[in-house]
Amino acid sequence: MTENRHKSIGLSDETAVEMYKTMLLARRLDERMWLLNRSGQIPFVISCQGQEAAQVGAAFALDRSKDYVLPYYRDMGVVLSFGMTAADIMLSGFAKAEDPNSGGRQMPGHFGQKKNRIVTGSSPVTTQVPHAVGIALAGKMEKKDLVTFVTFGEGSSNQGDFHEGANFAGVHKLPVIFMCENNKYAISVPVEKQLACEKVSDRAQGYGMPGFTINGNDPIEVYKYVKEAAERARRGEGPTLIETITYRLTAHSSDDDDRAYRSREEVEQAKSNDPILTFKAYLKDTGAMDEKMEKAIDAEITRQVDEATEYAESAPYAKPEDALTHVYAEEQ
């Protein structure tokens, strides 16, 4: 039998299965979005597929009752872990008025939900990095015991805002976890043309913080490193940079055709390490989940995705003139 690694780091079987459920929900929602896109029902999808383990492993390691997350567009696993629902996601996919992220104003993948401390994001990459630092600074000033968690792709780690934000957090020893989801490509540009360093975590020492490169396909490993980083942060020991090695299993987005720049063999190879499959196998091998549970989970998630889709599909759009609201605070 496979070694039980989740128990040894304090994760119960129930929590491990909960993580799996969240990963699977993310995956199934994502898959449904592609179907909806390909059948012309929604204009755009951008995927989490292949990165769910890193996202969910990390999110579960945080305090989901008080920490702040600043996810990037692929982080469906993070936002589901932090309380966003399947319906919320679908409302965003269909751009409906009730979408809690933006009321249908932003494309899917532009997360934000204040009640769950999911900080509103935009399209220009990496702008969220200094925001995470600012929230951590505010938390420190207000003597709150909170950690901020911010993610970005490896390509995006080349933006100036990564450098400036990371250095600021380092100087002020702020409770920020910087997590790079290195999926080897930035759209068509492979990591060798993107990064002059071998590992994104090589950059950590330039900001006086520890840096780790870990297996992003393993939610247990990610959980462990993020948990430790969160503890360091809460002890006042400052930020951490964690690079999770993953692979993007889909094209960049519904507008991309990845055959132009990567081989089918490479993609197939990656699919054999699909974290949904490997984590499922692990849970079964360790006895945390049996065949019956697996089936039940599958059915339950399918039901959730169906219901969410139906709900969102029939929900109303915002009225045209709603485009005029919320530019500034309303006058009292």
Binding site: K96, G104, Q106, M107, S123, G155, N158, V189, Y317, P320
Partner: protein, 327 residues
């Protein structure tokens, strides 16, 4: 003359200039192997190789800044910003550097860079893939901003931009890329930067605009023509610095002017066009200077209802033109 799409005209211009001058090269995100997210650089990587069609790291300030360095050396870089919305991290390099290099060095150095970017809405691009950004730069002497409306203009103006000895921002309407087709000569020609162009002659009202809205205006003009109202349509083509003479001439011809931009209204290119008219040909006016523009909200929302509400379209243009004609 062959009929080609707006985007193909742009690719043709780059290809021909790269063939003509070995100092011309392309750099940007995904411009190489993928040929650009819109395919504007398609084929160039195969033809010219990766040394001249460079897939850069994801960092716009570096794309601009490295391009500026190469331009100061004497190269002719064409830097692509993947979407105009993502030019913002490069504003310091463009405004503080590119625009000021000739002036601050008293003509010792110059910076012949072209920065291309797709802008504009109506493609379900939401807030950050739909914006018009020209107004951010249209107060910076040293820069030129070109925004062509037709394939013919796009090719001739992009070639002029590449040969220009000063920095040029070249904004391409992404919805025009495949929607707009037109005749484009195969061979070499350049069009003058800084000159507006009359796209339709008329004596009753004048429309001044640029980019995709030129086509909306031409369509609306056809409809008005059926009712005997003839519209002069002036396409600015270069939105900074503006062609003041052409503006005044177009106004004088009819005395009634409608200014159209797809950008937010307050502080747009059309503010300056209006100010030029009010300064130089006020007494030629028979009606207030109307502006048709996007509402003053940050940018176009994603949902189809709100996007449509924001976007200028031929119906909105027609309505505004009829109101003006009846004034």
């Amino acid at each position: 003359m062959p009929v080609v799409s707006y985007i193909n005209a742009i690719t043709m211009a780059m290809r021909e200039e790269m063939e003509r001058d070995s100092k011309v090269f392309v750099l940007g995100e995904d411009v190489g192997k993928k040929g650009g997210v819109f395919k504007a650089t398609q084929g160039l990587y195969d033809q010219f190789g990766e040394a001249r069609v460079i897939d850069t790291p994801l960092a716009e300030s570096a794309i601009a800044g490295v391009g500026i360095g190469a331009a100061m050396y004497g190269m002719r870089p064409i830097a692509e910003m993947q979407f105009a919305d993502f030019i913002m991290p490069a504003v310091n390099q463009i405004i503080s550097e590119a625009a000021r290099i000739r002036y601050r060095s008293n003509n010792d150095w110059n910076c012949p860079i072209v920065i291309r970017a797709p802008y504009g809405g109506g493609i379900h691009g939401a807030l950050y893939h739909s914006q018009s950004v020209e107004a951010v730069f249209a107060n910076q002497p040293g820069l030129k901003i070109v925004m062509p409306s037709t394939p013919y203009d796009a090719k001739g103006l992009l070639k002029a931009a590449i040969r220009d000895d000063d920095p040029v921002l070249f904004f391409e309407h992404k919805r025009a890329y495949r929607l707009i087709k037109g005749e484009v000569p195969d061979g070499d020609y350049v069009l003058p930067i800084g000159r507006a162009d009359v796209k339709r002659k008329g004596e009753d009202i004048t429309v001044i605009t640029y980019g995709l809205c030129v086509h909306f205006a031409l369509q609306a003009a056809e409809r008005l023509a059926k009712d005997g109202i003839e519209t002069e349509v002036l396409d600015l083509r270069t939105v900074y610095p503006l062609d003041k003479e052409a503006v005044c001439e177009a106004v004088k011809k009819t005395g009634k002017v409608l200014l159209i931009t797809e950008d937010n209204k307050e502080g747009s290119i059309m503010s300056e066009v209006s100010a030029i008219i009010a300064e130089h040909c006020l007494f030629d006016l028979d009606a207030p200077i109307k502006r048709l523009a996007g509402p003053d909200v940050p940018a176009m929302p994603y949902s189809p209802t709100m996007e449509k509400f924001f976007m200028v379209n031929p119906d909105k243009v027609e309505k505004a033109m009829r109101e003006l004609a009846e004034f």
